[in-house]
């Protein structure tokens, strides 16, 4: 624990003193304090903490607004809410914003230090998800294309894409929620999609609507199957998928700021199918 730099955001000087004392006893270094939004960013940028503890109820901007400002300033900021408020919706909002942990006031020394340790430690479940995710989505795509069309699928790995992917024509986006939120992108050309429809329906497609419906359904099946497989490996993932959105454009660029995507190409007799998958680390521990 020694050497972890912490900044405290709380409007109460008494609370700041209590939290600072707890942190010092736990071996952390308190490098900055702010009592409101006014001095928040300047203090953060000056002291560059590893962790920020954040009160929720403060006059003026509350802890959520201050957290948004910090995350906008630096998306890698690790924030732990320290507040007397603790209800389902407050926790849900904190998770959606991207807050890493939550400790209820009055602060139990051990709880705060344990949450800080967890936030600073590698998240084993997340690392496992990143390790297993790509292969699982490959398996789901391969199994379902073969099941639906009897076609054989081979794969070509790609580098992670941190900048952009240029669409081949039809892009399907599916959101994933659960312990870690993420996204799946499936991208293929209109010709590849047409070829698949012809095999599936045993006739050429009647119109674009029919083609897009097939692409959306395939993406839905692949994402659902892959997330089910991952949930079976560890039910703590609790992954669920959104319905698919489909985008058609010959040259649009797709980017995922703040979300590293792993990707591969599936080679099929119909043509090439791109699949990208990415997960956010998200919350760590809530006490």
């Amino acid at each position: 624990m020694s050497g972890i730099k912490v900044m405290i955001v709380d409007d109460s000087s008494f609370s700041r003193t209590l939290i600072a004392e707890t942190l010092r006893l736990g071996g952390c270094e308190v490098v900055g304090e702010a009592e409101s939004l006014d001095s928040l960013l300047e203090t953060y940028n000056n002291c560059k903490p590893d962790i920020v503890t954040m009160d929720i109820v403060m006059p003026g901007a509350d802890g959520f607004e201050c957290s948004r400002a910090l995350l906008l300033n630096d998306p890698s900021t690790k924030i732990i809410l320290v507040s007397s408020m603790k209800d389902e919706e407050t926790e849900a909002e904190a998770k959606r914003i991207g807050i890493a942990g939550y400790v209820q006031k009055p602060v139990n020394d051990e709880s705060l230090i344990n949450v800080i340790k967890s936030v600073m430690s590698p998240d084993a479940l997340y690392e496992q998800l990143i390790d297993l995710g790509l292969e699982t989505f490959k398996e789901a795509l391969s199994q379902n294309i073969t099941r639906m069309t009897k076609a054989h699928v081979t794969f070509a790995d790609m580098d992670t894409f941190e900048t952009k992917h240029v669409s081949q024509g039809i892009t399907t986006v599916i959101g994933i929620i659960g312990r870690h939120t993420g996204s799946m992108i499936m991208d293929l050309s209109a010709e590849t999609a047409d070829n698949m429809v012809e095999v599936l329906l045993r006739r050429p497609s009647k119109n674009q609507e029919e083609v897009l419906a097939m692409v959306a359904e395939l993406a839905n099946i692949v994402a659902g199957a892959a997330c089910s497989m991952l949930n079976k490996m560890d039910k703590a993932y609790s992954l669920r998928v959104s319905p698919p959105s489909v985008f058609c454009s010959s040259d649009s660029e797709i980017t995922s700021p703040n979300l590293k995507m792993q990707a591969f190409y599936a080679q099929t007799t119909f043509g090439r199918i791109y699949l990208g998958i990415g997960f956010k680390k998200g919350l760590t521990l809530w006490i």
Partner: protein, 157 residues
């Protein structure tokens, strides 16, 4: 789609953008469109899962996106819609949708979660959302035109 489902998003838009430094957030008009829309410029896509399911798109022209990002970055010049500008626009969309979920919870629509934002950029993008009907809300934010497309349905499970 129930028109009442767009109110929380409008509240979120008008609450969050002033926190990001914008002075004026005006709702110009609302229209009901089908499942498909065409777009030139930048679209941010966020999925929503829970008691409601579907997607929210936030769209603006490329020039508007650069101007918007510049304002979010304290007036820093944004000549290109580079990764930093893309990150700013994505973060804005994430904040709006996250806060909208909080607004939904006030209307007893609880337990919603959102996916990370994805950005699509290009011309003649044809977007098909997973709902029969989509609401388009046109906002003017410090004279920047922004369109929000809300395609949500009550989930059965």
């Amino acid at each position: 789609m129930d028109i009442n489902l767009i109110d929380p998003l409008i509240v979120s838009f008008t609450e969050i953008l002033p926190q990001l430094g914008f002075q004026s957030v005006e709702k110009r008009d609302i229209s009901l469109i089908g499942t498909t829309l065409e777009y030139d410029g930048v679209l941010v896509h966020i999925s929503l899962v829970g008691m409601l399911k579907g997607a929210i798109l936030i769209g603006m022209s490329l020039d508007s996106a650069k101007y918007f990002a510049s304002k979010m970055m304290m007036g820093m010049t944004v000549a290109e819609f580079d990764p930093m500008a893309q990150s700013a626009i994505s973060e804005m969309a994430n904040m709006i949708c996250a806060n909208a979920c909080t607004q939904y919870s006030k209307a007893e629509i609880i337990g919603l979660d959102i996916s990370p934002p994805l950005l699509l950029m290009g011309s003649n993008i044809q977007a098909t959302l997973p709902v029969p009907q989509t609401f388009q809300i046109h906002f003017s934010v410090d004279s920047i035109d922004i369109n929000v497309y809300v395609g949500l349905l009550q989930a059965n499970n």
